[in-house]
């Protein structure tokens, strides 16, 4: 079953997609890597970030891998390129 989530793009991922945020529909249960691949399917140029990027799901960091992600309607997922604050 699918659910609608809000995806936030920051830094280089925002430049690549040309978006700050978008609502998308994804499976309720998937791995963090599958979630990333879903984003790359929509924005193929995101693939250049593959080695550097992590996600934040409901404001908690999640590395790309086999870790299961369980999503509910309205959940916030963010694309997190390498940090450079301070």
């Amino acid at each position: 079953m699918n659910t609608e989530i809000l995806v936030l793009y920051f830094a280089r991922s925002a430049e690549i997609t040309g978006l700050r945020s978008e609502h998308i529909s994804v499976p309720q249960v998937l791995t963090s890597l599958q979630l990333w691949e879903e984003l790359v399917r929509r924005h193929p140029r995101l693939c250049v970030l593959r080695e550097q990027v992590i996600l934040a799901v409901r404001q908690e960091y999640v590395v790309l891998g086999n870790q299961p992600v369980i999503l509910q309607s309205g959940d916030e997922v963010a694309v997190i390129p390498p940090l450079s604050g301070g």
Binding site: F10, A11, E15, A78, P81, L83, S84, G85, G86
Partner: protein
Amino acid sequence: MNGTNRGPQDLIKLTHDKLSADAVSDAVLCPSCGAVSMFIGTTRNSFEGKKVIQLEYEAYVSMAESELKKIFKSIREKWSTVQHICVHHRLGVVPVSEASVIIGISSPHRTESLEAVQYCINALKSTVPIWKKEIYEMDVKTNSGILQTCAEVCR
């Protein structure tokens, strides 16, 4: 504010305004503390040999605040006598030589706040979702005398 003993304060501000060292030191001053340690991150005029004109910062604001609170919590676990902790981070355009971040921490004695500030800036840089983009001046000679800017994402 400084005349009374408040409980330990966690103070966070993400702002487009210019930062002030006095504002941060005033925020963490307390009558039972003998020490305030501070770190100020400023915009450098060069990065990897290229001339930087200005920096631009963006943040995942709500998560940046929650990550900062996690850092503050772990500071209080490591240095139990730390009193107030204040982080001001600037967003948007920051010209060269201006502060992008100011951290201030007070403690009764100096060692705790000195160590805690060092920990805080290292943790901030590695865990708080904030990004800077350097705006470079291109080499004039290779561009027919026209000054151009080029935005790149900083690692």
